[in-house]
């Protein structure tokens, strides 16, 4: 079975702070990491490989430095890694990204595609299902458990807002996975040594037959109009004075709204 895992290199957004004076992002010293949900996707692929004859290709689209994310994936145990990188891809939204990825996946070949449920920088969760649509294959989102797997179909547990569904899907298919699925492994020493030497396949837009008008800013239906910091509430009241006085005022406020 040929498994393709799509990953994204992201800034560790839990470390990103905002400068309250200028309302801009401060990114000093914020590391770039593999999107945490994608680690679970890689783990799921490696798990399957341990159970049956399978190969695992990890694919990412991004700037040249995304190579580091691919080396980390190779250290975990991916057989092949490929980087989709080209200046014309810059500014791609989820539509254009999914389009480019689907073209690359066609080129690489696949039976099963695994993605994390969303990336922590964009948080859209749209690229996985859209890739499935472009490839004209079925998909299941939010997979929290594999129940059965053979060459033709897989049965999975899909996490919903009010419980879960058991879903069977024929292969080839795409799934997106949640944290509950597994515990990602740490790279072994052997894996790290192999990752240093692994050849990273580089693909540009001509390699995957993508016309530039379908990717980048030009190919993206959505655009960022502006970004801004959240507004201050108009009726805010800061309670001043000693702790005793502050608590006294808060008690008064809670009484007014009949909380106590």
């Amino acid at each position: 079975m040929k498994i393709v895992v799509c990953i994204k290199q992201v800034p560790d957004t839990t470390e990103v702070k905002i400068n309250p004076q200028t309302n801009t992002l401060i990114r000093d010293g914020v590391p770039s990491i593999i999107n945490p949900y994608d680690l679970h996707a890689i783990e799921a692929a490696l798990d399957i490989k341990e159970m049956m004859d399978a190969s695992v290709t990890v694919l990412t689209m991004g700037p040249p430095q995304a190579e580091n994310a691919l080396r980390d994936a190779a250290a975990m145990g991916a057989d092949d890694v490929a980087l989709l990188t080209d200046k014309v891809f810059a500014g791609s939204d989820s539509w254009a990204t999914a389009y480019a990825l689907s073209c690359a996946i066609k080129k690489v070949g696949y039976d099963l595609i695994i993605c994390g449920k969303q990336a922590i920088d964009g948080d859209t969760g749209q690229v996985g299902p859209a890739v499935a649509e472009f490839l004209n294959i079925p998909h299941v989102s939010y997979v929290s458990k594999f129940s059965s797997l053979n060459g033709d179909a897989i049965t999975v547990r899909r996490l919903m807002d009010d419980g879960y569904d058991i879903v069977e899907v024929s292969l080839p298919a795409l799934i997106t996975v949640v944290r509950e699925l597994n515990q990602p492994r740490l790279p072994s020493l052997k894996g790290k040594i192999r990752a240093k030497k692994i050849e990273i396949k580089r693909l540009n837009h001509t390699d995957i037959n993508v016309p530039p008008k379908n990717v980048g800013v030009e190919g993206s239906p959505t655009q960022v109009k502006n970004i801004f910091a959240p507004a201050v509430k108009k009726d805010r009241r800061m309670l001043e004075g000693t702790a005793d006085h502050q608590v006294e005022e808060l008690i008064e406020a809670l009484r007014c709204i009949r909380c106590i």
């Binding site: 801009t24 999914a98 009010d162 030009e218």
Partner: protein, 409 residues
């Protein structure tokens, strides 16, 4: 579009370099330069004190046959969600949002409903829909991406709405991207607010970005329809009126065989035993508590206020409290009457989960903490000093009882 540094204006102060989330701004011979790592996220645009970082628009959009001109598209369509045959609350919220947009545009508000009957369709009319496209096929009661995609895609192609809204639920977030991909339409995920741009008919879709550290307004200048998923519990429901009249149009079931089969749907409340979404009062803790013991103190306060305990992602990640308590982008969205945030700094990813609470009380050491921006009442102080005092005073207050208050009076 391109973002460039005007080297005439650049003084080489380097203040823009650290603003780039993609490390795309570098210094070359004392001037800032934006290299090919730029993802056009616009985070740097307002950083430069000299105004040297600018957007450059080139007439670069090549005629693309699949991007359909907007003029032919009119109306707002809401995808109404049901689970096990019962309408979800988010459907009424979407009709509330859709009504406002349709009003501004002077167009019709329609809804579509799969796997329910006429009674539920009438319910959508009472909540504001002018028209409901209903497919009562019982195979659609269980959510399945492929038939849902086929039906919604078909409706959009037939009726050409300019705006399509769905809930940012597990269901909406799973199949809307397929519909958008098939239509070559722009889809904005997880919106917290919607509006119409002045002077055009463009939808302004507002959502958190960069892990919730900042908000972004997303537009689709050309592609139609403009699609968005909207976070549940963030937008208020529309008005309910059983006297409203509307048309119900039955549509034919999907025709293509699905490659996915839903074998079983299990309602599992154990995943959600902590009922944050129904709570009237929530006492919530964050990293500022410093340890798991802090939550014991919050529980004591919660019992006195008949409240439920919530938490920020930071506290859950530290292992101080279980995930079922988490409020925010990756946890639950809540809308209680009173939300008391203790030691929570207030990253937007937390804020989007609680900002529609009626009254927000924030207690935090850091006067610069963004949580104070959302607060009605703010206390700058140590939670370990304030909360015990608060507990003590409430005890006294309750201990006194009504009689004691009367005596004082």
């Amino acid at each position: 579009m391109q973002i460039k540094v005007d080297s005439e204006l650049c003084t080489g102060c380097e203040s823009c370099v650290s603003s780039c989330p993609y490390d795309a701004i570098v210094m070359i011979e004392g001037k800032a330069f934006i290299n090919e790592y730029c993802q056009l996220c616009k985070a740097c645009l307002n950083v430069c004190p000299e105004g040297a970082i600018k957007e450059y628009f080139v007439n670069e959009r090549i005629e693309s046959p699949s991007l359909t001109p907007g003029a032919a598209y009119r109306g707002v369509l809401v995808f109404a969600e049901q689970r096990q045959g019962r309408l979800s609350q988010v459907s009424f919220e979407l009709l509330g949002a859709g009504r406002q947009l349709a009003g501004k545009l002077g167009v019709e508000l329609s809804a579509t409903l799969f796997g329910c009957g006429e009674a539920e369709a009438r319910e959508l009319v009472s909540w504001g829909a002018d028209k409901v496209y209903l497919c009562g096929d019982e195979n659609l009661i269980a959510f399945n991406d492929e038939p849902y995609t086929e039906l919604l895609h078909r409706l959009i192609v037939q009726h050409r709405p300019e705006i399509v809204l769905a809930g940012a639920t597990a269901l909406g977030r799973s199949f809307l991207p397929r519909v958008a991909a098939r239509l070559r339409a722009g889809l904005t995920a997880d919106c917290t607010s919607l509006d119409i741009e002045d002077g055009s008919r463009n939808l302004l879709a507002i959502r958190p970005a960069f892990g919730g550290n900042i908000m972004a307004t997303i537009i689709c200048p050309e592609a139609r329809p403009q699609m968005a998923t909207v976070r549940p519990k963030v937008i208020k429901k529309g008005s309910y009126d059983t006297c409203r009249t509307g048309e119900i149009v039955n549509i034919t079931p999907p025709t293509t065989a699905s490659r996915t089969k839903v074998i079983d749907c299990i309602k599992d409340d154990s995943l959600f035993t902590i009922n944050l979404q129904e709570a009237e009062v929530i006492v919530s803790g964050g990293r500022g508590l410093g340890n798991a013991k802090g939550f014991e103190m919050l529980k004591e306060l919660a019992v006195m206020l008949n409240a439920t305990v919530g938490a920020s992602r930071a506290a859950v990640d530290e292992g101080w409290i279980s995930y079922s308590h988490q409020v925010g982008q990756t946890g639950k969205t809540v809308c209680p009457k009173i939300y008391i945030a203790c030691g929570i700094s207030g990253a937007v990813q937390h804020m989007v989960g609680m900002q529609s609470s009626d009254i927000i009380v924030a207690i935090n050491k850091n006067p610069e903490a963004p949580i104070f921006n959302a607060a009605n009442y703010g206390i700058v102080g140590d939670v370990y000093e304030i909360i015990p005092l608060l507990i003590k005073r409430i005890k006294e207050f309750k201990g006194d009882g009504g009689a004691a208050s009367c005596e004082k009076a």
